[in-house]
Symmetry: C2
DNA sequence: TATTGTTATACTCTATAACTATA
DNA sequence: TATAGTTATAGAGTATAACAATA
């Protein structure tokens, strides 16, 4: 089933190519993507959503604010916090990506009949659910194991 | 078909977790992986295989040599070149990862009957082949599009 | 006293350009 | 003259720790 790993790599490369043509790095694109999906949030919430440090968020937002995709606004009730949201340009970018991925998926899965697709999706869902629960198999991957 | 993108992400995270527990970064692990798959090669060949600059290879090899996973040897016929290969520890690491991924795949795809699996693999292969040919859809992903 | 976001500092990956040794 | 690998320099992402403002 190495094909699955290769497919995952190919999907990653495909996404990367898209970002390169837009002059956006992947971490910055993830910020835009997240804000587009979940809407305005504080930097703290963003750092939790992206699973990175608050310091990291500061740097990414500085760059994205500079290129006009994102705005920082004071939190109305907590003056320690900063609310982050997409500009109209950021919203267009986020929506365009979502559309692009949908198109890509449609292209990739065109020409399959519905029975095949249903079977594929069923297996995909079960594999995905299982992957979420699989713990890292540390022992078998140890490069220092005897 | 967003499930496929999510699965790709999950697989990536799963691999990343493995590397984290080993104290290896992804770029360094890719060097070890590549040398394990294709055997000894020059730094030039490595930079082409990894699609990065020769300078980048130098840095990765410096680190990997320091941790004893890789050795540099003079090329027997061309004194400009350097041959790079895995140490025995590097070979163990590479083999252990391959085994780990096989185990993961086996875990993920246990409990499916052979007809389901055959159907899944067939679609997977066709999607993969198509993905290799799909060009980036630049227009539809443009954040600056009107 | 705890939390939010920042500055200070450091390490890794990556790239381009200039340079050395060799072909 | 061209090639392989290095040093020099720079920018992005990430982390920890110390700090300011606010709760």
């Amino acid at each position: 089933m190495e094909g699955l790993f290769e497919l995952a790599d190919l999907l990653g490369e495909s996404m990367q190519r898209e970002l390169d043509t837009r002059g956006l790095t992947r971490p910055r694109a993830e910020v835009v993507w997240r804000l587009g999906s979940d809407g305005t949030m504080t930097q703290k919430q963003l750092s939790q959503a992206l699973r990175c440090t608050p310091r990291n968020v500061t740097g990414l937002l500085d760059a994205l604010e500079g290129s006009g995709l994102v705005v920082r606004r004071p939190h109305p009730h907590d003056r320690r916090s900063t609310l982050v949201g997409l500009t109209s340009r950021g919203k267009r970018a986020s929506a365009a990506w979502a559309e692009g991925y949908t198109k890509l998926a449609n292209t990739l899965f065109a020409d399959f009949n519905s029975a095949e697709l249903a079977s594929f999706v069923r297996i995909l869902d079960r594999v995905r659910a299982r992957l979420r629960r699989v713990p890292p198999v540390r022992q078998s991957l140890s490069p220092t194991a005897p």
